[in-house]
């Protein structure tokens, strides 16, 4: 180690807690010359005379008319890579138009600032969103050639009124989709349809825009572009930006009780590390999963440092006004502040540039998010990036198998635009926008035409399917859920709408008495009004969380694929799930102990979704066939597989459900179901089907490595189990999964 930075923290990276440490050497930039054909005025305003190779590759692909997806690291200059072709086009022909899509207003704002600072010739950039006053809107449509908006606005505010947008659509040269990996799951499935509708209408007005996507590094960029835009895109993923030397540490809090899986508090460990780093003058950001955690880390850190250092620490959270946020960002950038504890909900919108150290407390759910957080560390010099593990199964798995986190790239952004629950609304909206006929298969997809024939409110005419309803169909649904049957979560004091919850999830997440977590803030549900479909909540700062107990049944509706995999019959298809939430438990945040069980009286719900199910063979259950071992085995296998699925398909374990039964009424055999928690399904379980062998083997390794004997929160217990984690047999699950792995490797 030769750099001063390494010496500064080397002695902290020591002890039992350190599960893994490695230093990734610095890499030099790989530079390519500026394109010969770049507009001379753009050449003048660029502060350098070369591009990173991936930026040049993006230019070349765009210049030859290809669609493109960039999937390179944080701070690798992705914005410049997609801006250059757009700005060049506009420099040559100011009538050319570009649409930029951002998932949040804050990100659109950041890009507007960056574009303003580039001072590119002929550019007239404007933000067009829900806040844009009516009279500005027509001006922007006429005048702006670079319009920054969001998918929701495109869906209800642009496409249904396309006649007003005729000039934009006719001249639409580029569609830029930044932060594309955010468009996954339900939201992504909707955005996939919105982009298809946009491409179709552009075609109606005679344009064929190129799509430029930018994404975090994921396993499937080409697939994501195809799923989102319905296009073949050139993948540019060889990151040529320079990287400073970075030390990566995986930190596992001390195991206090192996049987309970109880570990020292990650918040305490984070504050200890943060105190040591900031005392040494190292600028550090710490990401925690909730506001409460971020505030506790701040408080504990202040307690550990001298008062001068303590004054240079601050929490950073969603409730701040933009001005307060900018102030904290400025103080951090200028070095007045040394340490900031933030909720990880803010990782996308935080503008702090370069720091020395980044600490993530708890795996943030996706490798892409973790890399985004770690990307804050060491961009100026040698940086330190730390993950402090929670008790969660996936966190603990990474602590024992660092290569699974640091080397493999299996995490895929998954969506399914053809989910009928999502698609139908867009088919209606498309028919409203212009008659849908066979020629639209190229943009809207075959499934859209199939659905069009089945929807009663569409009329088949000579020019295609047209909307026969009275209202305007895009106005009926939003992009954030699969159903208009949603409950609104309202904060009682301010009346603020916090979010929407689909009915099938409302009963288990916002029942009366539930603790509801939103953007890192906790709320107590005061009332769930089934008629008004409203959950009234108030801020909550107590120390228990809630877990719903529910009865679940599954019925196979249609088997779409069955294959012999891992020595058993594995199926993928559509099932219906019937659930009834019957009670909930209050559990202590400190030690997970049950404080109280409260009965609930709620109606049954049912929905159709996608699932995989598998039927272990008799031999694979040899020695496990007695009850309750059999059920405990299947149930534990189901939980642990659900815990690891987010490693393969970017999703939250809360998006996935499961059911295990010693005998299912349709298969007549012991059966494990793992299903998509969103009605209709968004492709998550199909990814599991396709990656079944790897998924099973990861799960077996996870169980093998967990130090408990009988199962703990770090392996087979689930924070969302409808049976409250009763009947779990870790040993049985491990035996079963090992037999599956053995069958998969011996299979011919």
């Amino acid at each position: 180690m030769t750099t001063a930075g390494a010496a500064t923290w080397d002695d902290l990276l020591d002890g039992e807690e350190l599960a893994h440490v490695e230093t990734v050497p610095a890499t030099d930039a790989r530079i390519a010359p500026l394109p010969e054909d770049l507009h001379p005025r753009l050449r003048e305003i660029l502060p350098f005379d070369g591009l990173y190779e991936h930026q040049r590759a993006a230019w070349d692909a765009a210049a030859s008319g290809e669609h493109l997806i960039l999937a390179t690291g944080t701070a690798s200059g992705k914005s410049l890579a997609f801006n250059l072709p757009v700005l060049d086009a506009i420099a040559r022909n100011p009538k050319d138009r570009a649409l930029y899509l951002y998932p949040t207003k804050a990100l659109a704002q950041d890009q507007a600032r960056a574009l303003g600072e580039l001072r590119a010739p002929n550019v007239r950039a404007a933000i067009y969103d829900g806040d844009t006053p009516g009279e500005r809107r027509s001006q922007i449509r006429r005048w702006a050639n670079l319009i920054l908006t969001n998918p929701d606005m495109l869906h209800v505010g642009v496409l249904p009124h396309h006649d007003r947008w005729a000039d934009v659509l006719h001249n639409l040269r580029y569609i830029v989709v930044d932060e594309a990996h955010v468009y996954r799951g339900v939201f992504g499935s909707h955005v996939g349809n919105v982009l298809r509708r946009l491409r179709r209408l552009a075609g109606v007005y005679g344009a064929e825009p190129q799509l430029l996507f930018a994404s975090a590094t994921i396993a499937n960029p080409g697939e994501l572009a195809a799923a989102l835009g319905g296009v073949d895109a050139t993948v540019v993923d060889r990151d040529a930006a320079p990287r400073a030397e970075r030390t990566i540490a995986l930190w596992n809090p001390e195991l206090l009780d192996a049987e309970l899986g109880l570990r020292a508090s990650p918040l305490g460990e984070a504050s200890r590390l943060m105190a040591a780093l900031t005392t040494r003058g190292l600028r550090t950001i710490c990401f925690a999963k909730s506001r409460k955690a971020a505030e506790l880390i701040h408080k504990f850190t202040v307690d550990r440092v001298d008062s001068a250092t303590g004054k240079r620490l601050a929490p950073y959270r969603a409730g701040y006004t933009p001005i307060q946020r900018r102030e904290i960002e400025r103080r951090l950038v200028e070095g007045e502040l040394l340490g900031v504890s933030a909720t990880d909900a803010l990782e996308l919108g935080i503008d702090i540039g370069l720091l020395d150290c980044a600490i993530s407390v708890g795996f943030p759910g996706t490798v892409a998010s973790l890399r985004q957080q770690w990307g804050r560390a060491g961009r100026r010099g040698h940086g330190l990036a730390v993950l402090i593990a929670s008790e969660d199964a996936l966190d603990q798995y990474f602590m024992r198998e660092p290569a699974m986190l640091l080397e493999r790239r299996v995490e895929a952004a998954i969506l399914d635009h053809a989910n009928p629950r999502v698609l139908d609304g867009h088919v209606r909206a498309a028919a409203f926008e212009a008659p849908v006929d066979d020629a639209d298969r190229a943009t809207l997809g075959d499934e859209a035409l199939e659905r069009a024939a089945l929807l009663p409110d569409l009329k088949h005419t000579k020019s295609g399917y047209v909307w026969a309803g009275r209202d305007y169909p895009a106005g009926r649904f939003g992009l954030r859920s699969t159903t208009p049957d949603t409950f609104t979560v309202v904060e009682a004091q301010s009346g603020t709408v916090l979010g929407l919850v689909e009915r099938e999830r409302a009963y288990s997440t916002v029942h009366e008495g539930a603790i509801y977590l939103h953007l890192g803030e906790s709320y107590l549900v005061r009332e769930l009004d089934l008629q008004a479909r409203t959950a009234v909540v108030t801020p909550y700062s107590g120390d228990y969380y809630t877990q719903a107990k529910k009865d679940t049944n599954t019925a196979i509706e249609e088997t779409l694929r069955t294959e012999r995999r891992c020595g058993l019959d594995l199926s993928f298809g559509r099932i219906s799930v019937t659930e009834q939430v019957v009670a909930y438990q209050k559990k202590s945040v400190r030690d997970q102990s049950t404080l109280e069980t409260v009965d609930l009286d709620l109606p049954e719900t049912s929905f159709e979704t996608e699932a995989i199910w598998y039927l272990p063979e008799r031999a694979q259950l040899d020695g496990l066939e007695k009850m309750p071992t059999l059920l405990g085995t299947l149930h534990a296998a189901e939980h642990s597989m659900i815990a690891l699925l987010p490693l393969w398909a970017m999703c939250d374990r809360w998006d996935i459900g499961g059911l295990s039964t010693n005998v299912h009424f349709q298969t007549n055999r012991p059966t494990v179901f793992i299903y998509d928690g969103h009605a209709g399904g968004v492709g998550i379980t199909e990814r599991g089907f396709n990656a079944f062998e790897g998924w099973v083997s990861d799960t077996a390794r996870m169980l093998e490595g967990c130090p408990c004997n009988d199962g703990c929160p770090s392996c087979v217990q689930s924070p969302k189990c409808g049976n409250l984690n009763e009947m779990l047999d870790k040993g049985g699950a491990l035996t079963l999964l090992r037999r599956l792995v053995a069958a998969s490797t011996s299979a011919t």
């Binding site: 303003g116 600072e117 007239r124 950039a125 933000i127 806040d131 001005i323």
Partner: protein
């Protein structure tokens, strides 16, 4: 109702980048649009609702007396209603503004601070006191 739909205040500034970092970053105004003319640049920032306040010389003198204690403002003064005028004034001082006076509480119960922005414009930050 008049046909006027928007009051837009146009400031011609010598130091464009400095003004951007002052009004956009330090004061925290969102960008609505950016564009360029031949060699020139424009950034349109949103600053809440715009109103045009007409005062006579005597009232202007009274405001100056209340906020500052002497006559300081020219014919145009730009006032921003913000959540916390005192705290924001500190931020803006850090960003190059010169504090002329304040914060003071006015008889109509606003908390006012008078500043001169780096481009020379005279600013009042005001916060209604509850």
């Amino acid at each position: 109702m008049a046909d006027v739909r928007e009051l837009r205040l146009v400031l011609t500034v010598q130091d464009f980048d400095g003004a951007l970092s002052f009004y956009r970053d330090a004061l925290g105004l969102d960008v609505e649009a950016v564009w360029a003319s031949e060699g020139g640049h424009v950034t349109l920032l949103s600053a809440g609702r715009a109103t045009l306040e007409l005062v006579d010389e005597a009232h202007a003198a009274e405001i100056d007396r209340l906020e500052v204690g002497r006559r300081v403002a020219g014919p145009v003064r730009v006032a921003f209603q913000v959540p916390d005028s005192g705290a924001l004034a500190d931020t803006l001082e850090g960003a190059g503004a010169t504090r002329i006076a304040g914060p003071v509480t006015t008889p109509w119960n606003d908390r006012n601070v008078r500043l001169e922005a780096p481009d020379g414009t005279q600013l009042t930050l005001f916060t209604p006191v509850e």
